[in-house]
């Protein structure tokens, strides 16, 4: 009898296996209410992990950025649908919607609905070669404007072409995709091994992008990391992209800024266009194109050497200035951790001086009412906070805390 019992136990064990399936096809989502399903006011985009193993992205939502609470991606936060790092870099967040590039040839518009990202529309490119890879972006009445990743050397005209796409974001259609024609550099571009590049191999990195008065302004440098201490600014008609004019300025180094969505230029209430530069000593500067003109203002050059390398805290890339600069009001702009009066060339406040944590570089800087600037603060003991700087009151306050142990915060944005 004992013998049969042993055999029976083995048999039973084997036959239990098939029944495990009934409760294990999908993870148990638990009975805890999922508060991410409620549409909140704000989103904070955090990165966790490390790039050599597995880096993932989570969108934390909150009704109030200034609430004294802890937000954590642990069992919370919306996980994007199969988005990897490039999707965050090749992306832009605007008025509650995400626009990002898939496979270099698809632009997808997504929104958070019911605690998940939902696609609202997409566009597929008519050809390959990363045509719909988004570099610098700019929103205006026409919709989403972006410079394509694709670069071509036009031998017939001896120019380097990069298409400017204009996307109707409501209908998700391509309104136009004409090439911007950049002159071939007169000087030699060298590759990483110190070898001269052929014209067809020259990369072109747009660093600042704005559209004003039917003119497009594109700060750029040849190659990925420029070694030329000259700022190049291309001006052309918009949207025709004709009448190309190349502006140069040698006073404060080359243009700064990375190729992706973050902005290193801004336009004030007067229509004056400011763009940042960085020199070989890695200190910043500001140049200006006054309203109604297409020349760099020879009477304006603001050397920001007193604030040093304001992109030193950069988390996003190592290009020629991975900064994000934003205009607030009345000549005040936020650059790095500094509030700067750009018209009067004066540093108003270093937000780090409040002692509430060091301001972290983000892809976007969220502002409200042309007065409140929301920043990401990280303390010496590695605690993360959202901070609100009140420009008028010149005060900085801590808001929600983000769980320590994340890798970074890329954006703060408004969902509604």
């Amino acid at each position: 009898m004992k013998k049969l019992n042993v055999a029976g136990m083995v048999l039973a064990t084997a036959f239990v296996m098939p029944f495990i399936q009934s409760c294990s096809k999908t993870p148990d989502t638990g009975t805890k209410p999922d508060d991410t399903k409620q549409t909140k006011e704000y989103a904070i985009f955090v990165t966790v992990g490390n790039s050599s193993s597995s880096e993932n992205y989570y969108t934390l939502t909150t009704a109030d950025l200034m609430k004294d609470t802890l937000l954590s991606p642990v069992n919370s936060g919306i996980e994007p649908d199969n988005i990897t790092s490039w999707a965050y870099i090749y992306s832009v967040f605007y008025q509650g919607s995400f626009y990002y590039t898939q496979d270099g040839n698809i632009i997808s518009k997504q929104k958070i609905v019911g605690g998940k990202y939902k696609e609202l529309g997409n566009i597929v490119a008519s050809a390959g070669s990363w045509q719909l890879g988004m570099m610098k972006t700019f929103f205006n009445n026409n919709g989403l404007n972006f410079l394509s990743w694709e670069v071509k050397y036009n031998q017939a005209e001896d120019v380097i072409e990069k298409n400017l796409y204009i996307i109707d974001t409501a209908a998700m259609t391509v309104k136009s995709n004409n090439p911007v024609k950049f002159p071939v550099p007169a000087f030699t571009i060298y590759d990483n091994n110190g070898n001269p590049m052929a014209k067809k191999d020259i990369p072109l990195t747009p660093s600042s992008f704005s559209i004003r008065d039917n003119k497009a302004f594109i700060g750029f440098y040849y190659d990925w990391i420029t070694k030329i201490d000259t700022a190049y600014m291309l001006v052309c008609d918009y949207p025709a992209l004709t009448n190309v004019k190349l502006l140069k300025d040698t006073r404060l180094g080359h243009v700064s800024g990375a190729w992706y969505a973050s902005s290193s230029s801004f336009t004030d209430e007067n229509g004056d266009y400011y763009f940042s530069t960085i020199n070989k000593n890695k200190t910043y500067g500001l140049l200006r194109i006054k309203s109604g003109t297409t020349e760099i203002d020879p009477g304006y050059a603001y050397d920001l050497k007193e604030v040093g390398n304001i992109a030193g805290a950069a988390s996003w890339g190592d290009y020629a200035g991975s900064d994000h600069h934003v205009y607030i009001k009345s000549g005040l702009a936020f650059m790095g951790s500094y509030m700067i009066d750009v018209r009067n060339k004066k540093v108003i406040k270093d937000l780090n001086s409040f002692g509430l944590g060091k301001v972290q570089m983000t892809m976007d800087t969220y502002t409200e009412n042309s007065n409140e600037v929301y920043v990401v603060l990280k303390t010496d003991d590695a605690r993360w906070f959202v901070g609100k700087y009140d420009v008028a009151a010149n005060t900085l306050k801590r808001g929600v805390e983000i769980h320590s142990g994340i890798k970074g915060i890329s954006r703060i944005g408004r969902l509604r």
């Binding site: 294990s24 990897t84 142990g405």
Partner: protein, 820 residues
């Protein structure tokens, strides 16, 4: 060994019989039963025993020509029983008349039943080795592949049914796969030779089971004779080898236009020892199975459609799509000529292996990265020489020498020039602009030499020393045939080189009346890599105008050691344990890429791991019932853990070193058998890999949220169960009907970090269960076999990788002739 054993057994039997008969009173023996005993291949079975049932003293032993003659005084109906080591016993009823003789010939079938049956029957050479290995100091699973002879399958499908082995496939026949033992990338060998010497035509996903005798899956410490950088585990595939004539031929056909032909056989001249062995196989499949969108798992198949109103191309969802560009074919031929069991060699053969395959690639790394013109091709040629000799030069020294040269050519070509969607239309470049053509050629020339010496230190063979040296060097040249600039085409052929030297010394000892077995070993690993870099400068016309070609060289050298112990507590119970520091040297593909989806990483370092294994086993007979229980646990602390990571383009991957990963887990298996009528087994494996990268940045100020968390995107619990019911002579003499039910289970796992993200938004690979049924019918003592298989009977959606669906329900029929 087997022959000696046969003769000894026969001699013993004869002696006992004769002695016994001598004690009987003399009786008149007028009746004779005589004849010949042969194998199915016609070989005389010298030493086979013949006896009459219930007659203790009536019997005979077949002579050297296989003839026997029984004299008996019995008359009337008697039952004659014939048996021989390694063959299934046979019984035959005969009617004896007084003063008459009866002529009966017997043809015996080789016994390839399972371990438990064999122990019951006490026969079976392969099963003897299985048992021997299981009770050695190593933690090893041994799979008798003969059990799978009537199934239309490849080695991957067999391996994934054993504990601790994880195979992740991206599609159907010939698809890309990853293979791990206890969470680490294990080295694979064919007859002790590293499989990376063979081309991609001979990999786990295309070798038919019918060419294979058994598979040894080592976990933890690996035997010294597998003289490679196997760390934490290895798989050794043993092909069918017989000292006599044998033949196994099979053909199967099934769903998705899948064909599989396998043929292996050999002959040996007894007098001269001259032998010839040949094997071949051919696989073909359209792999055109249906893919489905599945909202439950967020799988969304898409096609590109032109929006007529706006002229915009868009991706839209579809319910299902049939794979349309995924055919695969592979073929291999191998011949070995030489001598076996002659005075000057136990084994000496010269062999030649040729293989080729051609594979279409339907998908990149994601489900909508559809391709319609990318194919790869591989051809390889490998001459080999093998020599084995016991008492080599001095008594007690066993030498096992091996060398090969392999020439391997890979072609990667994308002739489509367009991207596709799921209905086979141009997608991303629907407007008509072509994408650049891909046409690269990879040439690998490789040499391997291995010398293995084993010396017995005492007459009882309780202690032995084993010295192993393996040298391997591979030189790779790559050509970009799509490059129109002749200067650049030339530069693309720059060579890369990798050389490995591994020397190992092992001491095996048996203690406490062989209750304790120990294997202590020391290894030294050396690896040299050389990559040629092009620093030349080209003008706008592609002409070189300066610079030079230079080379980058790296060398890695590491010592390591291991200890494996087995202690037999009782004849049934035993415990095993091992500890090791090992190194895993990067493969050529990981270092230099493969021109397909793997990108080179010249900075890749060898992976180091401290491995600990502990296990116990229990084998027990209760009459004709057999029970086997195996359980083990492991712990691995890995530094510079090598793992493949999908790159940001979602198409390519690259092997990278992870700073620190800890792996741990356990596995258990239970088996029950009753004669050869019932076999039931079930196993479960659980393994976890934990991120040991503590800080989020170089300042070491912030502990990462993922520190000590389970690495995402890897299965961590999986199991199998098998039930076999068989009956001999059910529908006629010499027939067998067998029904197998096979079950596979994989627990769901997250694509990203488990504890992060709201549960409702998380991406995961779903839990899966696969049910398969196989009905086999054999006749003429298993010479002829036909089987029908229904795989994935419930048409479960199967994914090993995120959203990359594997084939659904499939049916196969297989015909096999086995003269073993």
């Amino acid at each position: 060994m087997r022959r000696i054993f046969t003769l000894l057994l026969s001699g013993f039997f004869l002696l006992v019989t004769d002695l016994a008969m001598a004690q009987q009173p003399a009786t008149k023996k007028d009746n004779h039963i005589y004849g010949e005993i042969k194998s199915k291949l016609g070989e005389a079975l010298s030493g086979a025993s013949v006896k009459i049932s219930n007659e203790q003293y009536v019997g005979a032993i077949a002579d050297s020509t296989g003839n026997y003659d029984i004299s008996t005084s019995l008359a009337g109906k008697v039952t004659v029983i014939v048996s021989s080591v390694g063959y299934r016993p046979q019984t035959r009823d005969v009617y004896l008349k007084a003063g008459h003789s009866i002529h009966i010939d017997f043809t015996l079938t080789e016994d390839n039943r399972q371990l438990n049956e064999v122990i019951v029957a006490g026969t079976g050479n392969n099963q003897y080795k299985v048992k021997q290995l299981k009770e050695s100091g190593f933690n090893v699973n041994v799979i008798d592949v003969n059990e799978y002879g009537n199934i239309s399958t490849d080695i991957n499908q067999v391996l994934k049914r054993t504990t601790g082995v994880l195979v992740r496939e991206s599609g159907g026949v010939g698809s890309d796969f990853t293979f791990q033992v206890n969470g680490l990338a294990a080295k694979i060998y064919i007859d002790d030779i590293p499989m990376d010497q063979y081309g991609s035509s001979m990999t786990l996903n295309n070798i038919p089971v019918n060419l294979i005798d058994r598979i040894e899956v080592y976990k933890g410490v690996v035997p010294a004779h597998l003289g490679s950088d196997a760390m934490g585990g290895a798989v050794n595939i043993i092909t069918k080898q017989k000292t006599r004539k044998f033949l196994d031929a099979s053909y199967s056909y099934g769903s998705f236009n899948t064909h599989q032909v396998a043929l292996t056989g050999g002959i040996r001249d007894r007098k001269t020892g001259l032998k010839l062995r040949a094997s071949t196989y051919y696989n073909y499949s359209d792999n055109n199975y249906m893919m489905y969108s599945d909202s439950m798992y967020n799988v969304d198949l898409r096609i590109v459609k032109r929006d007529e109103a706006t002229g915009t191309y868009r991706q839209v969802s579809i319910d299902k799509a049939r794979r349309f560009y995924d055919t695969y074919r592979s073929a291999m031929g191998e011949v070995e000529v030489g001598y076996e069991k002659v005075k000057w060699a136990d084994w000496f053969t010269i062999g030649l292996t040729y293989g080729e395959n051609k594979k279409q690639h339907q998908l990149g790394s994601t489900v909508n990265a559809v391709m319609g013109g990318f194919w790869t091709e591989n051809k390889y040629l490998m001459p080999t020489i093998k020599y084995r000799k016991d008492n080599f030069i001095v008594p007690g020294l066993f030498a096992n020498l091996y060398a090969n040269y392999s020439n391997n050519k890979d072609v990667n070509r994308d002739t489509a020039l367009y991207r596709y969607d799921w209905i086979g239309h141009w997608a991303a470049n629907a407007g008509g602009d072509r994408i650049p053509e891909v046409f690269t050629k990879y040439f690998d020339n490789s040499y391997t030499a291995r010398a293995n010496f084993n010396y017995n230190l005492d007459k009882e063979n309780n202690h032995s020393l084993n010295l192993n040296y393996t040298f391997n060097t591979t030189r790779r040249k790559v050509y970009d045939e799509a490059e129109t600039n002749p200067y650049k085409k030339d530069l693309s052929g720059l060579p890369s080189k990798q050389g490995k030297h591994i020397i190992g010394l092992a001491w095996q000892g048996q203690w406490l009346k062989k209750r304790l077995i120990s294997v202590a070993s020391f290894k030294y690993y050396g690896m040299v890599t050389k990559a040629t870099m092009d620093g030349r400068v080209f003008d706008d016309f592609g002409k070189p105008v300066g610079g030079e070609i230079h080379t980058r060289k790296d060398f890695f050298g590491f010592p390591s050691g291991s200890l494996a112990l087995r202690y037999r507590i009782t004849p049934d119970w035993g415990v095993k344990g091992s500890v090791e520091r090992g190194y895993n040297l990067p493969e050529m593909t990981a270092l230099f890429g493969n021109g397909q989806f793997v990108v080179a990483n010249l900075d890749l370092k060898p992976e180091r791991s401290d491995n600990f294994n502990l296990g116990a086993y229990y084998n027990h007979f209760i009459g004709e019932h057999f029970i086997n229980l195996d359980a083990s646990a492991f712990y691995r602390n890995s530094k510079d853990y090598i793992a493949s990571q999908v790159l940001s383009d979602n198409i390519h991957s690259q092997s990278r070193n992870f700073p620190g990963v800890t792996l741990y887990g356990f596995e258990a298996e239970a088996r029950y058998g009753y004669k050869d009528m019932v076999s039931l087994s079930a196993n479960i494996s659980y393994d976890k890999a934990v991120d040991n990268w503590k800080y989020t940045d170089s300042t070491n100020s912030q502990v990462s949220l993922t520190y000590k968390e389970q690495l995402p995107n890897r299965p961590w619990m999986y199991g199998n169960a098998n039930l076999m019911l068989g009956k001999r002579d059910l529908v006629g003499k010499g027939t067998r009907v067998q029904l197998n039910y096979m079950y596979q289970y994989m627990h769901w796992f997250y694509l990203t970090w488990a504890k992060l993200g709201s549960p409702g938004s998380k991406n995961f690979v779903p839990g899966q269960t696969v049910h398969s049924l196989i009905l086999a019918y054999s006749w003429k003592q298993d010479v002829y076999n036909i089987s029908m298989e229904a795989r994935n009977l419930t048409d479960e959606r199967l994914y090993d990788n995120f959203r990359l669906q594997k084939p659904g329900r499939a049916f196969y029929v297989k015909l096999r002739v086995s003269l073993m």
